[in-house]
């Protein structure tokens, strides 16, 4: 945390001073990605509704996607920064596709669970507990 305190002031000047007039960089996108990711993780941990957990997963995947796109974007690259190029966008596409597949299976499982237990509260899924 000490390190963070040392970093923050030096960061704050270029990041927040001329936010409206200076172009955004990769770091801005990373901040958005981090917030989405954290919200998703907290959502997964906190929600007791199975569908809520599923929404948390979607948020996490999106946070990662934001980072991939930011690293691949030709518009955001600062001088001397490496870039993922097209690969970032392609990986983001695959993430979107796999997320769709995952959501379909997870939803089918949830509906099955709902049929058998008449609830979507995942704390009640304890049949296999010894």
């Amino acid at each position: 945390m000490n390190h963070l305190a040392a970093v923050l002031p030096s960061v704050a000047t270029p990041l927040f001073a001329g936010l409206l007039s200076s172009p955004v960089g990769v770091a801005h996108y990373l901040v958005v990605g981090a917030i989405l990711f954290t919200a998703g993780v907290v959502c997964m941990a906190l929600k007791r509704n199975a569908l809520g957990v599923l929404m948390g997963i979607e948020l996490v995947l999106n946070g990662a996607n934001v980072n991939f796109v930011a690293f691949s974007s030709p518009y955001l690259r600062g001088e001397g920064a490496a870039s993922l190029g097209l690969d970032g966008q392609v990986i983001a596409l695959f993430v979107i596709l796999l997320a769709a597949a995952e959501a379909a299976v997870a939803l089918a499982i949830t509906l099955n669970f709902y049929n058998n237990h008449a609830t979507v509260d995942i704390d009640r899924a304890e049949d296999l507990k010894g």
Binding site: M1, M55, V66, G80, L84
Partner: protein, 246 residues
């Protein structure tokens, strides 16, 4: 919502305005729009966590993911943005909302979490966020403002890459001699994967043989495969589209 309308129409302006963001431009529209979309995305993501009602959570999630698509457009990834809108927002989330509505009976609409859990999760989340933010700010070149760049439209190179041919420029900092692989094999694997998921989801959510079939089973079995089929068709169709491009 008017703000959302304006924002989306202006985002389109913003992406074309990017090249003139020199010292002449007092306000950088790209940044303004970025802030707008980022604020909506983050605020709605937090609202998903804070909301108790599962339908509202779904609604906030829709807004969050839609403005993330806006961010993708701003970053020049138009194809990914459109895919996000079509598959994620238009497909996956409709599916999710469907699931919510099938199970949204009064006792399950709002399942409360205990406040001690909330506090704990909040602390863990804050710690995680601190680590991630620090990581984002640690690398010097990421913090530098962007150089105004012109980029080729990415839809065609993406389609070619999915067919196994790379036609895009090598990324900055990567030696040109480095092997840049196409994505034909992953693309085929994902196609098969989607097919398997289609069958699997249909099997899991199928109507069981009961003496009196419950309405919920019938609905689930008729809805699941349909939505899944749409996603599979979309993904393969869109890949075909971009592959056939130009």
């Amino acid at each position: 919502m008017m703000i959302a309308v304006l924002a989306s129409s202006m985002s389109m302006l913003g992406s074309t305005l990017l090249p003139i963001s020199g010292p002449m431009a007092a306000v950088n529209w790209h940044s303004v729009l970025f802030l707008l979309f980022a604020a909506v995305a983050c605020a709605c993501a937090v609202a998903v966590v804070l909301a108790d009602n599962v339908v509202r959570m779904a609604f906030y999630l829709v807004l969050s993911l839609a403005s993330t698509a806006g961010l993708f457009f701003l970053a020049g990834a138009e194809f990914v943005g459109a895919m996000q809108l079509m598959i994620y927002v238009g497909g996956t989330l409709v599916l999710l909302v469907f699931g919510v509505m099938l199970t949204a009976q009064a006792p399950f609409v709002a399942i409360k979490t205990s406040s001690s859990d909330r506090v704990l999760a909040g602390m863990v989340g804050a710690a995680l966020l601190a680590v991630l933010l620090q990581a984002a700010f640690r690398v010097e070149p990421w913090r530098r403002p962007a150089v105004a760049a012109e980029a080729a439209p990415a839809a065609t190179p993406i389609g070619m890459a999915l067919l196994g041919v790379r036609v895009d420029e090598p990324a900055a900092g990567v030696p040109a001699a480095a092997v840049r692989s196409g994505y034909l094999l992953p693309f085929e694997i994902v196609s098969i994967h989607l097919l398997v998921v289609l069958v699997g989801a249909a099997y899991l959510a199928r109507a069981k043989r009961r003496r009196t079939p419950r309405a919920i089973d019938v609905a689930a079995s008729s809805v699941g495969p349909v939505v899944e089929a749409r996603q599979a068709a979309r993904s393969s169709a869109s890949a075909l589209v971009s592959g056939g491009g130009r």
